[in-house]
């Protein structure tokens, strides 16, 4: 009499537990292949780089970092990467911000068209972009010829950091527009109207309300552009077959060059790059977390 309800009870209790266990096993099997691949091809290489940047002849050491930062050649690469990235990001951001505002004030048809065009050109980077610029502004580029006819641009050299700055700025613009426009779209007309009725000039509106509201998006976009430019390799490589001295070019030539290979020194340089990128990612996350003025 008594054992029956108990048996029923345990059976009832066991059944969901069994199903749960079977479900968990299924879930585990479903996610395992992903983590296997991700581990092998994303985490393991990074781990190799991180460990080997700190190993000198099997001993933990900062030797490679010391070597990297001690060499004027490497320091120049780091410096070039930094200033070309920073300047192209700021220039690209300014142009993107002005364009985004103009888009925000344009008719919706034009806006959609241009945003689609921007998303297309944002994929136009790397080798084809470098070639397009060579055709436009190379030694015999059509725009170079035009400028020379007018007596301009004689000292412009596309195959230098100057040219690289131009091309980087170019590819930052569509990316900047795509990242910034949504923030402009969230600006509401009635804020500007309310400010006007309270006696504020447009300038005061932008200083006290417009820009502070946009600021997280602007800063976040700048950081993404910066990271994008610092990690870029293909454009610079295609432009000069690797003769420009940039951090990414140095890293690649230390592992895949023709002359001498130093994967551990490459790892140290790579970790410097990763460090800077992680820093921008962290700052970006903080910005995203901190300032969320939910509009409604």
């Amino acid at each position: 009499m008594l054992s029956q309800p108990i048996a029923l009870n345990t059976a009832l209790r066991r059944q969901p537990r069994l199903r749960l266990a079977r479900g968990s096993l299924g879930a585990l099997l479903a996610v395992l292949p992903f983590f296997l691949m991700f581990g092998l091809f994303q985490l393991a290489p990074l781990a190799w780089v991180a460990v080997n940047s700190l190993l000198v002849d099997g001993q933990w050491s900062l030797g490679h970092f010391r070597e990297a930062l001690g060499s004027p050649f490497m320091r120049q690469a780091l410096g070039n990467s930094l200033w070309v990235s920073a300047l192209s990001s700021v220039l690209g951001l300014i142009i993107a911000a002005l364009s985004s505002y103009a888009l925000y004030r344009s008719s919706s048809r034009l806006r959609e068209l241009v945003l689609a065009f921007a998303s297309m050109t944002s994929n136009f980077s790397g080798v084809p972009l470098a070639f397009a610029f060579i055709i436009l502004l190379g030694f015999n580029g059509s725009l170079s010829l035009l400028l020379r006819q007018w007596g301009l641009g004689d000292d412009f050299n596309l195959y230098s950091t100057q040219g690289l700055l131009l091309i980087y700025t170019y590819f930052q613009i569509p990316l900047g527009v795509l990242l910034l426009y949504p923030a402009f779209d969230a600006l509401r007309d009635d804020w500007q109207e309310a400010a006007a009725l309270l006696g504020a000039s447009p300038w005061v509106f932008w200083r006290d309300i417009g820009l502070p509201v946009l600021w997280p998006a602007i800063a976040g976009t700048l950081l993404i552009l910066l990271a994008n430019a610092m990690g870029a390799y293909a454009t610079a490589y295609a432009l000069t077959s690797g003769n420009l001295n940039l951090l990414t070019i140095r890293i690649a030539s230390l592992v895949a060059g023709d002359i001498y290979l130093e994967p551990q020194l490459a790892s140290a340089l790579a970790m410097l790059l990763v460090g800077m990128l992680v820093l921008t990612a962290v700052v970006n996350q903080c910005l995203l977390q901190r300032s969320r003025y939910a509009p409604d």
Binding site: R188, D190, W191, E193, A194, A195, A196, L197, L198, G199, A200, S201, V204, D208, I209, P212, V213, R292, Y293, A294, P295, D296
Partner: protein, 338 residues
């Protein structure tokens, strides 16, 4: 001379005429509601007064001065927007102080006036909060405080309560009205809610397709609609024309008539009375309980009429299908302009 005077306002947008010679005047200290369905031009009219939408022709006078060519900044008008338009990056205090800061007032004076105003709208405890940390009703009061603290000559309210729940809406309605009366502030209030317009205003202006259909006191507009549109928008009027109107009136009529549902008595016997003459025979089609009121649909020969009765006791409720007699209060029957 009225305090706010709009004369012969013309406005076209794209191929559409929004206003063709609209006139409106508001007396000093009055609260006037612009009432109408969405798209009737009431919000646009408010925006032209504020200077946020420019006009093609006409004159807008405030306190005897033409303001129609002034920038919004120079008009001295306070406005509460439909979605409040609170500055999301500024605290409640800074939002309210914003207009005073533009006047370059002394910091201490700004603080005193802002704090007084926040006390008045019962938000002192929330001064440091950001707008997104407030409830809808609190945001609405911040918007009101921000518009009032600059001591505007005219207050404009653009559907200020439409985004709120019914109970908060009712209490804020009272708060707005008492503040307005206390400050004797001339106010234009845009709404599509007839109950809001009727309870709140000194004068109701009914608009349709960019034209003013009717204006007057709440009582007047409610009880004496001038057109089928006015009757249809203001209450649940029974609108009748031609043969239907004749059968209800008991005599032929050329114009349409409007009868309020509460102006029809439900009778058990066909007793005649000077107030309604001979009652009409009818049958209850349906019954709807609206709280303190019961709404019946009654089939009366070829006509279906709506009648409202006070819900005094459950025993008085009539079943669907039961026969009744209707007494239409003749004095309350409105003859409408064709």
């Amino acid at each position: 001379m009225a305090f706010l005077n709009i004369q012969c306002l013309h406005k076209r947008y794209a191929d559409q005429t929004l206003f063709a010679g609209l006139n409106l005047s508001v007396e000093r200290g009055q609260l006037v509601s612009l009432l109408g369905p969405s798209g009737c031009g009431k919000s646009t009219l408010l925006r032209t007064i504020a200077g946020l939408t420019d006009i093609d022709q006409g004159r807008i006078e405030l306190d005897g001065h033409d303001i129609s060519r002034l920038a919004p900044q120079q008009r001295g008008i306070g406005m509460v927007f439909q979605n409040y338009a609170l500055f999301p990056n500024l605290s409640v205090f800074a939002n309210v102080a914003f207009g005073l800061k533009q006047q370059k007032l002394d910091k201490a004076l700004i603080a005193t006036r802002v704090n007084t105003m926040l006390e008045r709208v019962e938000l002192s405890a929330f001064a440091k909060r950001l707008p997104h940390q407030l409830s809808g009703g609190q945001r609405q009061r911040v918007a009101l405080a921000r518009a009032l603290v600059i001591q505007p000559r005219l207050l404009l309210l653009d559907e200020p309560l439409s985004a709120l729940d019914a109970p908060i809406r009712r209490s804020l309605r009272q708060q707005i009205r008492s503040l307005q009366q206390e400050l004797a502030l001339t106010t234009v209030f845009v709404t599509h809610d007839q109950e809001e317009a009727l309870t709140l205003s000194d004068r109701v202006v009914l608009m349709h397709s960019g034209e003013i259909i009717q204006q007057g006191s709440a009582e007047n507009v409610y009880s004496a609609p001038v057109s089928p549109f006015a009757a249809g928008f203001i209450g649940h009027y029974n609108l009748l024309a031609g043969a239907a109107a004749a059968s209800v009136l008991g005599r032929s009529t050329l114009s349409a008539i409007a009868i309020r549902p509460e102006a029809i008595e439900l009778l058990d016997t066909p007793q005649a009375d000077p107030r309604w003459g001979t009652p009409l025979a009818g049958r209850i089609l349906s019954r709807q309980l609206l709280g303190n009121i019961v709404r019946y649909q009654v089939q009366c020969a070829e006509v279906t009429l709506i009648c409202d009765c006070l819900n005094r006791s459950a025993a008085d409720l009539r079943a669907s299908g039961s026969a009744v007699w209707l007494g239409v209060l003749q004095a309350e029957v409105r003859t409408l302009a064709a």
